[in-house]
């Protein structure tokens, strides 16, 4: 079943500090070459799902207690981030975390940690080709770059590792709409030109569903809806709750009683 799937998550539960259950039976699959987006409001468990894949739960005292995560058919849940990154999964953390006191180029070089000792000049050129804005700032400390440049930097840094699966956590967070558009175009190009499979966690459902092939909607630590991106875009619930459109496009303020119309799947 999982032969042509790059990543299979089977019914996982994640518990922090042995008591706080955040994910309750999440399953999803990612096929090679896809862009899969994971939507949902704050606290739905999107970031936790990504961390369960990349192994970054452990430093936060979290653990996959049930279920399994298979990458290329091999179980990777609860493995250390060192082994998971070397298998080809790189997560780009939420909220742009460059190494502030390293220059842009040094930041990019940290991305080669999984391939220590191998040549990296060509990869640098590739990243500068995707993100020309970084080229002229390569000797600047990353801490002094603009938000957009930082986001480009952290995505570029992840590309240096030649990921098979790239996990992007809210790349649009706190950026101007024009920059968001630019970054999504580049994400699409990375997927198309390098064939990198991408899992994209987003609040900006509109943008995410434009470049995704498949989407999942999370709510309260569960997956409540899934489908091809076009289908999700047309779904009335998704439209109302995540795309900010009323059922009939526009509606009068008299009808805006959000508390009355509950999300049906809860």
């Amino acid at each position: 079943m999982s032969e042509n799937k790059l990543l299979v998550i089977n019914n996982i539960s994640v518990v922090y500090s042995d008591v706080i259950q955040v994910l309750k039976g999440v399953s999803l699959t990612v096929e090679p070459g896809q862009v899969v987006s994971l939507l949902g409001s704050n606290g739905a468990g999107k970031t936790t799902t990504l961390k369960a894949i990349s192994g970054l739960l452990k430093p936060e005292n979290g653990e996959v207690t049930e279920g399994s995560v298979l990458f290329d058919g091999k179980p990777i849940h609860n493995h250390s981030p060192e082994t998971i990154t070397r298998a080809g999964i790189i997560q780009v953390l939420e909220g742009r975390q460059p190494f502030k006191y390293l220059t842009i180029e040094e930041n990019l070089r940290v991305g080669t940690a999984t391939r220590w000792g191998k040549p990296y000049k060509q990869d640098l050129e590739k990243v500068y080709h995707y993100f020309p804005a970084l080229t002229k700032r390569r000797r600047t400390l990353a801490g002094y770059c603009s938000g957009g440049e930082m986001q480009m930097l952290v995505i570029g840094r992840a590309l240096m590792a030649h990921p098979k699966l790239l996990l992007l956590d809210e790349p649009s967070l706190g950026l101007a709409p024009l920059i968001v558009r630019e970054i999504f175009q580049i994400i699409e190009r990375i997927n198309r030109e390098d064939g990198t499979t991408i899992v994209l966690v987003e609040q900006n459902a509109n943008m995410a569903l434009q470049i995704a092939t498949y989407g999942y909607v999370m709510e309260n630590g569960k997956i409540v809806m899934e489908g091809r991106a076009e289908e999700l875009r047309e779904n009335p619930d998704v439209k109302e709750f995540y795309l900010g459109m009323g059922v009939a496009g526009t509606k009068s303020y008299r009808d805006v009683k959000a508390y009355k119309r509950r999300k049906r799947w809860l």
Partner: protein, 306 residues
């Protein structure tokens, strides 16, 4: 005529004394800076204040002593073996004592280093006792500089050479080598480094190993200058505190400058005021510098973009 001559010579004497103190201060300062560098390295990568630093420094000095006297190794080989030995010691300390504590509150880790300090000091007292030892004379006389009446003993020249050599090496290592960049990335943002596959535990181990190695080097050279005594040498670990706080706890360059300042202050106080004040004045200077620059002279001021 004779009067004028005598005046000149006393003036010259003062000048020579000044230069002598200056050179002594710089060489001692380099050594303080070098051992402070190891301390800063551990602090930068894992935020741990290593209270056992002075003991590791003393261990380096005693290991070298044992190798050149008891084991009768040639000096250069003894030096290299000491470097390797302290490097391994740092590695082992991290592996056995600190790794199990990763993720525990920092205060526990710091208390552990206090315990380590007591343990090492006790162990060394058990083996070598509290006596003062000296190394056999092995530095070539030609290394000394005699410049007019100013005499610089070979040890001080050696201290400056070794100090600057290792500083340069580590500077290049951190700036250009991949491993050095990984180490800086861990110091900068541990989670982000982890997400990119940087072997964080390996970086911790490496920083302890390098720190122990530079402590060992300064232990040897300080041992040549002052003689080797467990209490004397391990108390230099305490002197590292004003040095690093002065330079900024997280700046390797600052550790060197801080070391030079404390070294110079010490020797000048000892020379012009009173030898009994030499341990006090650095702390007084520290208070005043911190009043003006609370992050230390070269401490990183948090880059805060809003």
């Amino acid at each position: 005529m004779t009067k004028k001559n005598r005046f000149n010579s006393s003036e010259r004497c003062k000048m020579d004394f000044f230069i002598q103190l200056l050179i002594n201060g710089i060489s001692i300062g380099f050594l303080y800076g070098l051992s402070a560098m190891g301390f800063v390295m551990i602090f930068k990568s894992s935020s741990v204040l290593n209270f056992a630093h002075g003991e590791v420094l003393a261990f380096g000095a005693f290991l070298f002593l044992a190798l050149v006297t008891s084991a009768q190794l040639p000096v250069w080989l003894g030096f290299l073996v000491t470097l390797a030995g302290t490097f391994v010691l740092g590695f082992v300390i991290e592996r056995i004592f600190l790794r199990p504590l990763i993720g525990e509150p920092l205060i526990q880790v710091i208390m552990l280093t206090v315990g380590l300090a007591a343990m090492f000091k006790g162990g060394m007292l058990l083996v070598w006792g509290g006596n003062l030892y000296t190394y056999p004379d092995f530095l070539p006389e030609g290394l000394g500089i005699s410049w007019g009446i100013v005499q610089v003993p070979p040890v001080y020249v050696a201290a400056v050479i070794i100090g600057s050599l290792f500083l340069l090496m580590f500077g290049l290592f951190f700036k250009f080598s991949s491993q050095g960049i990984y180490m800086r990335s861990v110091a900068d943002n541990q989670t982000a480094a982890l997400s990119l596959g940087v072997h964080v535990r390996r970086v911790f181990a490496l920083s302890w190993a390098i720190a122990a190695l530079v402590a060992g080097i300064s232990g040897i050279v300080l041992g040549i200058i002052n003689g080797i005594n467990v209490h004397e040498l391990s108390s230099i670990g305490l002197k590292v505190f004003p040095v690093v706080i002065l330079g900024g706890l997280d700046s390797i360059g600052g550790a060197i400058i801080g070391g030079l300042i404390i070294g110079l202050l010490e020797t000048f106080t000892g020379g012009y005021l009173s030898p009994s004040l030499r341990d006090v004045v650095p702390y007084i200077a520290l208070v005043f510098i911190l009043l003006v620059k609370p992050y230390g002279l070269f401490g990183l001021v948090e880059i805060e973009r809003v």
